[in-house]
Amino acid sequence: MMLRRTLLGSALATAVAATAGSAEAQLTVVSFGGSYQEAQSKALFQPAAKALGITIKEETYTGIADLRLKVKAGAVTWDIVASGSGSAARAGAEGILEKLDYKTIDVSSFLPGLYQDYCVGGDVFSTVLAWNTKTYGDKGPQSWADFWDVKKFPGKRSYRKSVAGALEPALMADGVPPNKVYEVLSAPGGIERAIKKIKELKPHVAVWWASGAQHAQLMKDGEVDLVTGWNGRFDVAKKDGAKVAYTFNQALLDYDCYAIAKGAPHRDLAMKFLAEISKPQYQAEFTKYITYGPTNKKAYDLGTIEAAYAKQLPSHPDNAAKQLTVNLDWYIKFEEKASAAYQNMLTE
């Protein structure tokens, strides 16, 4: 009896130790699924896990609201959360993310503005102006002023249904130079000025798009002639035969990033993991799967990204120079107000 109890006890102890051991060496990461997460998994998550000698569990979610529920319920099972930069900035301000330790994560060779207190940039994408090459040929509109010019470029437009990335182009079309856009938007009357400009375009907007999949589909079907949207989606659509081209002129440079959930089970290991996937070799590898650029400049110097291909990436220095980097501080401060005004304009 005594013996049995001891045996059982030691077996239990071993089992407990084994679970604890594997729990220490396993991270859970959550992202948006689809071709995007596939690229992340192949280029970042699996190779980095191998390098660190740990295992990684991948899950998918729909957005930061899911994380909020978990944190509020005190049941955080995720360590690393892939997010858009804007949502991460607001989630950080709200207190549902851990502060990142930039002594562990090396961002010294990052492009400026592509990391923040609570989230480190993983890839760069652009909100670009794209057009139907069947309607306009290769010489399509080259600026937001052209996008607004319905005489020079007659045709149906599609524009974003929510306010993120929607006001900046309007101001540029209204003659505000890119480097003054956020200054104007922060000043009294700035948001109203942008909304007024969008109202001008409203009769020509056939579709207000709600997702990347949607604006890619619109171009595939030839439903509209001019559209705003995310560059990677258009490249994928083009591969599928869509008649679409886009320009980086006056595009909005933005990034996706990685954050650590507040109360993550393995915070320190997660920090090391983020340090690993922020290294240039991982970022260079990532571009092979989707045309989103690296946030780490050094990725371009490794020589693993072909020169011709590198020129198509949003964060290539030549392309980045033509663009306006999205100002997250502005979004933290003004998005709620801007969104209300935008929804108001849409329902008018």
Binding site: G63, I64, A65, R68, R90, A91, E94, K156, K161, S162, V163, A206, V207, W208, W209, A210, D221, G222, E223, V224, E335, E336, S339, A340, Q343, N344, L346, T347, E348
Partner: protein, 296 residues
């Protein structure tokens, strides 16, 4: 219980109690399910809508609904679109149900399969199918222009037109079924009697058949209208961002603002308005009788 109720009264009362307990036991699983899946979440939603972002009790979310004009417009759109869809369903569905009810039952059964067929496909699939058909270079526009019926592509989708087409397609069976049922139940002898008394077919229809089919029509219309109020997918896919209904705005508020409170308040207002409509309808139309309650 009176004393002179007979020697067996106590036994009968006990049996009745046992029966009640058994019935309660039988309905417990259903009650539990409704509580867990319906009452608790709705209660939680109700509670959330009265909490400010810092967790204190507040009416801030309702205040926002009043202050921002877009919310009032969205509610108006929701009720207008639902009313229009219901109206179109009546115009299309009533004659259809009439024709079906006049067919021999066996033929009508086969035709009914045609009405019910859409139920076998998911709403999402059907909605995207409409998108493929209706868009600028979709089947309808391509054929129409090739046949020379029109020169420029018609705007059939990404607006109110597309939304209504999609909604009516989904909702039509909900109208046809109750109307068909009530028409089938009408005794043919009434119409013969009307004819006997000198009414022409049109007059007999107007004075006898139509009033008798009215309860079914009302039931169908109310079901359609209330289901329409909660539509999300169809306006999202076929409305082109121009037809924004309450459900769409709820999704928007949650995605953009991490704001459960604001979204909950919208849900609560929609729920209350829907209940008001039901209540008004029941007062006006004796809904209990239509929906088969213990009406007199």
């Amino acid at each position: 219980m009176s004393a002179d109720a007979g020697p067996n009264a106590a036994g009968l009362a006990r049996d009745a109690r046992v029966e009640r307990v058994v019935l309660l036991g039988l309905s417990l699983p259903a009650l539990a399910l409704v509580t867990v899946t319906m009452i608790l979440p709705v209660g939680w939603l109700f509670w959330l809508s009265f909490l400010a972002d810092d967790g204190s009790l507040s009416l801030v979310h309702y205040q926002r609904l009043v202050e921002q004009p877009s919310y009032a417009r969205i509610f108006r759109t929701t009720f207008e679109v639902s009313a229009l869809a219901t109206l179109i369903c009546i115009v299309l569905g009533y004659p259809l149900a009439y024709v079906l009810s006049q067919l021999p039952p066996r033929v009508a059964g086969v035709a009914m399969i045609g009405v019910l067929m859409p139920f076998w496909t998911s709403i999402l699939v059907r909605t995207y199918a409409w998108l493929v058909l209706l868009q600028r270079r979709g089947l309808i526009n391509t054929w129409g222009m090739e046949l020379g019926l029109w020169d420029e592509p018609l705007a059939l989708v990404h607006d109110l037109n597309g939304t209504l087409i999609g909604m009516v397609h989904i909702m039509l069976p909900f109208l046809v079924l109750p109307v068909y049922g009530s028409m089938r139940a009408i005794d043919r002898d009434y119409l013969k009697a009307a004819a006997n008394l000198g009414a022409g077919p049109a007059r007999a229809f107007r004075l006898v058949f139509f009033p008798l089919s009215l309860p079914g029509l009302m039931a169908g219309a109310i079901i359609v209208f209330i289901l329409c109020l909660g539509f999300y997918v169809t306006p999202a896919v076929l409305g082109g961002g121009k037809v924004i209904m309450v459900a769409n705005r709820i999704a928007n508020d949650i995605e953009i603002f991490f704001n459960w409170g604001a979204a909950s308040a919208l849900g609560v207002v929609l729920l209350v308005l829907t209940m008001l409509v039901l209540w008004a309808a029941s007062r006006l139309l004796r809904l209990d009788r239509i929906l088969g309650g213990h009406g007199t």
